[in-house]
């Protein structure tokens, strides 16, 4: 039987074990990969001509991206998953105890199970390539490193370092990994030579790794590193049980504060590490395997894995390759959004024009782009030269010169239909026929904006989220007239900008703003009913929202919220009621526009992280005071009043065809609006929580508040038939 995933050749006395999953762009520790690996490992051990081994990937851009998630998802019980974990543990234990030293030669991502494999090897060499990252991202999938990671990492990088890696799941670059003691040696990526840089770099990595393997065998390289003074002190300190207990306590408290206890994985990670350190390896490995099994069966893990798959799906262009790539992009309006869009565009090899109407506005925007890049320079992710070189692709201007070369124009001017109409006419007079006109609006229907266009097939909505460089989501809105190529082009630009993209139908508030509006209306009503902003925030974050409802209103801007509430209120009628729009309007009149004006629900003092409730809103709320109904005002009811309106609106968007499917609905809600990731998005939430239970609650609220809580037909359908699910 021929092997397809793992093979080896013997170079002198070193076995070079090469991994390559022929069915995928990345290597994963699939069943096939594992089986062949064990087979090869046995052969290498049995081969007398072999003294040592090098483990390397034949894929230029990837070592091992992780375990095969499908393998875990195919399990039905926690026992099955625990068994998977134990098999992995066993395999890596054999690697760790191998009498023939094994050198892991790492180029590209070395994540999750891949990292656990690498740290079971005796020695690690990694390329300094930007693509080479090491990490344990399991926590982001609601899992833990289940193949010995929780046991080996603390020994390798120390307890604090291991917790940091496993609890944040962050990627660690090769140079940092070397400093942490995660890898032993670094290899520089090579440029052009007698082969392509990628090919030759891997070859070089292999050559160096072979030298290391030989060095270990002939004792030129020692595996027990001479410990430095700091290391000795640290080891001594960590040897004290009291210190370790303090660390567990501190870390647990931090996790509880950050996760509000809504995510089980971090706690299980702490538990597994603790079991190993306090009760010995047998208990540790057992705890790891059992906890891994338990976590795999949690709804949180299911939700997070769903988001992961959704994110991968939303990083593809389902509209195909556009006829011509966008090489010149012009942005109108150098405000926060416009400059933010420029910032994520200019470093992607796209020549970017940033146009504003005033020198002041323009220079503020240019400074924002500069600062964004310069911060990267300070963090050393790019050099000052790369910053300058990137900025050379940005042109700031006040006129329309050069627009005849633009392939796409994104307008980010003030949210006013008349202004947008004026702009579209001005622009269409100067751009070439193929140029796409994209409008960055958060609520104005695209067809209304396109009404002023002489070529509506080239008009599309691109709704970015603020701050553009931090928020991953891009909501693209198409009208009936938008051409497929226009959509393909907009998606292609968004993907280049690094965005996760949902493409939705046109309508007031599209998808995201439309879901947010009823929730904010409910939040205003709660404020009117006397719920303090801090309490409101605590209840929403307690439900899993990363930002509380009151804070969110301040971040979005009270004026924007008022604008949206009024516009969507008109479009959707009384269903969007709840809180009185006058509350928001009065706040705006008083200058409480949210964070940007220094005051909103809270008072913001520059430089201070903590914030107090704005005492002056009491008068406003007093004026519009409502009496709460005790039947629907418990803490839990407050949470579900907010969430059910959000979720119902999301389901209605699917029902009306605004959404293409539940996956995009979940991704949009989580990445654009901060819907609790542990719930996986509104659709997964309905599946998990039960549509009937949600409808039951909504009916109760409906009795008090009327149609604000009337469940939509699709939700009712799901409530009636429990076999109906949004996700398989």
């Amino acid at each position: 039987k021929t092997r397809t995933h793992v093979n080896y050749e013997v170079k002198e006395d070193v076995a070079v074990i090469r991994m390559n999953d022929p069915t995928s762009k990345v290597n994963t520790l699939s069943v096939q990969m594992q089986n062949e690996m064990i087979e090869v490992f046995n052969e290498v051990l049995a081969n007398d001509a072999v003294q040592s081994a090098v483990l390397i990937s034949s894929k230029p851009g990837c070592f091992i991206a992780g375990a095969d998630i499908n393998m875990i998802q195919a399990c039905n019980t926690s026992e099955e998953v625990t068994k998977l974990s134990q098999e992995g543990q066993k395999m890596f234990a054999r690697i760790e105890k191998s009498p023939k030293p094994i050198v892991a030669a790492i180029n590209g991502p070395c994540l999750g199970g891949g990292l656990e494999f690498a740290i079971a090897c005796q020695y690690r060499v990694a390329t300094k390539s930007k693509k080479t990252v090491l990490g344990t991202p399991e926590v982001m999938l609601g899992l833990l490193p289940g193949a010995g990671g929780t046991q080996r990492l603390p020994k390798m990088v120390g307890i604090p370092g291991a917790f940091d890696m496993m609890l944040t799941g962050r990627n660690i670059r090769a140079d940092k990994a070397k400093k942490m003691g995660l890898v032993h040696q670094l290899v520089d990526p090579l440029g052009p030579g007698l082969k392509s840089p990628e090919e030759r770099t891997i070859e070089y990595l292999e050559e160096v790794a072979i030298q290391c393997a030989k060095g270990i065998v002939n004792k030129k390289i020692s595996l027990t590193k001479e410990k430095g003074m700091m290391q000795k002190v640290q080891d001594y300190v960590m040897g004290i049980e009291f210190v370790r207990q303090q660390i567990y306590k501190t870390v647990t408290a931090k996790v509880m504060k950050m996760s509000k206890g809504l995510y089980p994985a971090p706690l299980k990670i702490i538990e597994s590490v603790k079991a190993g350190l306090e009760q010995g390896p047998d208990s540790g490995y057992l705890a790891e395997a059992q906890n891994f099994g338990k976590l795999a069966m949690t709804s949180e893990s299911n939700a997070l894995i769903g988001l992961y798959h959704g994110q991968v799906a939303c990083k593809k262009n389902r509209f195909g390759v556009p006829e011509r790539p966008v090489k010149n992009l012009a942005i109108l309006g150098a405000g926060l959004m416009g400059a933010g869009i420029a910032q994520v565009t200019v470093d992607k090899g796209i020549h970017t024009v940033l146009k504003d109407t005033t020198v002041e506005g323009l220079s503020r925007g240019q400074q924002q782009v500069y600062k964004g890049l310069n911060d990267k320079t300070k963090k050393k992710t790019i050099t000052s030269f790369e910053r300058d070189f990137t900025l050379a692709s940005l042109t700031g201007q006040l006129d329309y010169s050069g627009f005849e070369k633009a392939d796409m124009v994104i307008e980010a001017v003030f949210e006013d239909l008349n202004i947008k109409h004026r702009v579209i006419k001005e622009v269409e007079a100067v751009i070439p026929p193929h140029c796409i006109f994209a409008t960055n609006t958060s609520a104005l229907p695209i067809k209304d904006i396109a009404a002023a266009s002489i070529r509506p097939e080239k008009v599309i909505g691109m709704h970015y989220f603020s701050p553009v460089d931090k928020m991953q989501l891009l909501e693209i809105i198409t009208t009936d007239k938008t051409s497929k190529d226009t959509t393909a082009s907009a998606v292609a630009v968004g993907l280049k900008q690094g965005k996760v993209i949902i493409v939705v139908g046109d309508g007031p508030g599209f998808y995201t703003t439309r879901c947010l509006a009823p929730m904010l209306a409910e939040a205003v009503r709660l404020l009117q009913e006397g719920v303090d902003p801090k309490k409101l925030d605590a209840l929403t974050t307690g439900f899993g929202f990363p930002v509380g409802a009151a804070t969110l209103a301040d971040e979005v801007g009270i004026d924007v919220a008022a604008h949206v509430a009024e516009d969507l209120g008109k479009a959707f009628g009384s269903r969007f009621g709840g809180g009185n729009v006058e509350v928001l309007k009065t706040m705006v009149e008083k200058g409480f526009k949210g964070r940007k004006s220094g005051k909103g629900c809270y008072v913001y003092t520059p430089g201070l992280k903590s914030k107090d409730v704005n005492p002056d809103i009491e008068d406003v709320l007093e004026k519009y005071k409502l009496t709460p109904n005790p039947l629907v005002s418990s803490d839990s009811d407050v949470q579900y009043r907010l969430v059910s309106r959000f979720v119902n609106e999301a389901v209605m968007c699917l029902q009306e065809g605004i959404l293409n499917g539940p996956v995009e609905g979940d991704i949009g809600a989580v990445f654009g609006l901060g819907f609790p990731p542990c719930l996986g998005g509104p659709f997964r939430f309905v599946d998990t929580f039960g549509a009937n239970k949600l409808v039951e609650k909504m009916r109760r609220y409906e009795e008090v508040y009327g149609n604000h809580f009337t469940p939509c037909q699709l939700l009712l359908d799901h409530a009636k038939d429990s076999s109906k699910r949004f996700h398989k």
Partner: protein, 445 residues
């Protein structure tokens, strides 16, 4: 047979690269100070002192009247701020007429090549007939600056009007202000040191440590032979004020492969291949050449040594192709001159690192590289080693950055005379990912 006939015909035809309507430009003479390891006998001088020595050597050797030059151009890399136009200070100090304009150029290790080609340009344009070009580098002393913070404070102190302002500025000085700023040995655009890049380049082309050490040993061995045989006739002796007279390069050290193998890698540790012994060393030195239009040289009664013919400057990616100038420049200049590799009798390539030389030779000999990176159909091939850097090179003779170009050109001329060849080719790499190549034709003797 037919092939021989073809060859004979070709030899007859290739006699000269003169082009109709283009002035013939000749190298009349070339000299240099001995190249010394920095920090040795020249340690107390200033850069223009070395340049003066070279200029005086040239005057002495050519008996050129001190006012018979139209223009003087010098190349340098690390500038002494007091003599930023080192060409002017050196020419005045060397006794040239103060009526001769002079300027300084810089293009890293090919600075004096730029000085020479600038002169060629002035003659071709009909602006000048007689040019002195040269280069100087002085690494025994480099400008070490105060930190930017300190400089800012000191400049503000200059402008401070009251005692109070002055005191408050002085009071603002912290320990961090006192950290000095050394001239960076790293490429500005990539922050990578040249040795590091050379090591990566060698690895990219699969150049082994053994190949590098062998080439380094060859360079030192050949340099020693040339020195002992008195072939390095461009070297003038120089009475260093307060010190001895220096008459020889002092970096030539033929060693053994065993000795070379003992060295640890200098840049990429522990698996790198570039060591101190297979790299060029920090050097003090200056060079000068006399370039004239052929008519003028003959009119003044000189017997020129060589024609300076076609030349090119090339540049590429400063990160991954920092030192590949010769690989890019050679095919280009050969094409300009209508020559092939086989036509060249004398090669003088600048040896920055043994690994860099070997990488360039491999690049020249690779069809894949020619096709993928140079847009050529086929390779031009590597130079024959029996024609290559036969009197040593930068690895052994030393490499004063700004001065090496003139040494290469003068050496080609001298080797053509000695060996009886027709064409020579100079090629060099430079920081910034740049490079230069020039074809030199023997002057009929």
């Amino acid at each position: 047979s037919q092939r021989m006939l073809k060859q004979t015909l070709f030899n007859l035809l290739k006699k000269t690269l003169a082009k109709p309507g283009v002035k013939n430009i000749v190298l009349v003479e070339g000299v240099r100070t001995p190249f010394l390891l920095s920090g040795t006998t020249y340690a107390d001088l200033m850069p223009h002192d070395l340049a003066r020595a070279a200029l005086q050597g040239l005057l002495h050797k050519t008996s050129l009247p001190k006012d018979a030059v139209d223009y003087i151009i010098y190349g340098t890399v690390i500038q002494e701020v007091k003599t930023s136009n080192v060409a002017r200070e050196a020419s005045l100090g060397a006794g040239f007429s103060d009526k001769i304009p002079s300027h300084t150029v810089t293009m890293a290790c090919i600075s004096s090549n730029v000085a020479m080609t600038t002169g060629v340009g002035l003659i071709t344009a009909g602006q000048c007939d007689t040019i002195v070009a040269g280069g100087v580098e002085f690494m025994s002393d480099v400008p070490i600056r105060h930190s930017r913070k300190m400089r800012k404070t000191m400049l503000a102190l200059n402008r401070a009007k009251t005692l109070g302002q002055r005191l408050s500025l002085i009071g603002s000085i912290r320990m961090a202000h006192l950290t000095p700023e050394l001239p960076a040995v790293a490429e500005f655009s990539t922050a990578e040191t040249m040795g590091h890049s050379a090591d990566r380049l060698a690895a990219a082309f699969g150049v082994t440590r053994l190949e590098q050490d062998e080439f380094a040993l060859r360079s030192h061995t050949l340099a020693k032979q040339a020195q002992d045989a008195g072939l390095l006739s461009d070297v003038i002796s120089f009475k260093v004020p307060g010190r001895d007279t220096v008459a020889k390069d002092n970096g030539i050290r033929p060693s053994s492969m065993e000795q070379l193998a003992k060295l640890k890698p200098a840049f990429i540790k522990p698996h790198g291949t570039v060591t101190a012994a297979n790299s060029s060393f920090l050097t003090d030195g200056a060079s000068a050449v006399l370039i004239m239009s052929e008519e003028k040289a003959l009119a003044m009664g000189y017997k020129p040594k060589a024609y300076l013919r076609d030349f090119v400057f090339v540049s590429q990616d400063p990160k991954d192709q920092l030192l590949l100038g010769p690989a890019y420049g050679t095919p280009k200049v050969l094409a300009r001159a209508g020559l092939t590799m086989d036509d060249i009798d004398v090669f003088e390539f600048h040896e920055a690192f043994a690994g860099q030389i070997m990488a360039n030779l491999k690049a020249l000999d690779s069809d894949w590289f020619a096709q993928t990176y140079m847009g050529r159909k086929v390779k031009v091939g590597a130079p024959a080693m029996e024609k290559f850097n036969l009197w040593g090179g930068s690895l052994s003779l030393g490499h004063p950055f700004g001065a090496t170009g003139c040494r290469l050109v003068t050496t080609v001329a001298h080797r053509l005379l000695k060996e009886g060849g027709q064409y020579g080719l100079v090629a060099a790499c430079a920081a910034g990912g740049q490079g230069h190549a020039m074809v030199i034709e023997a002057y009929p003797q």
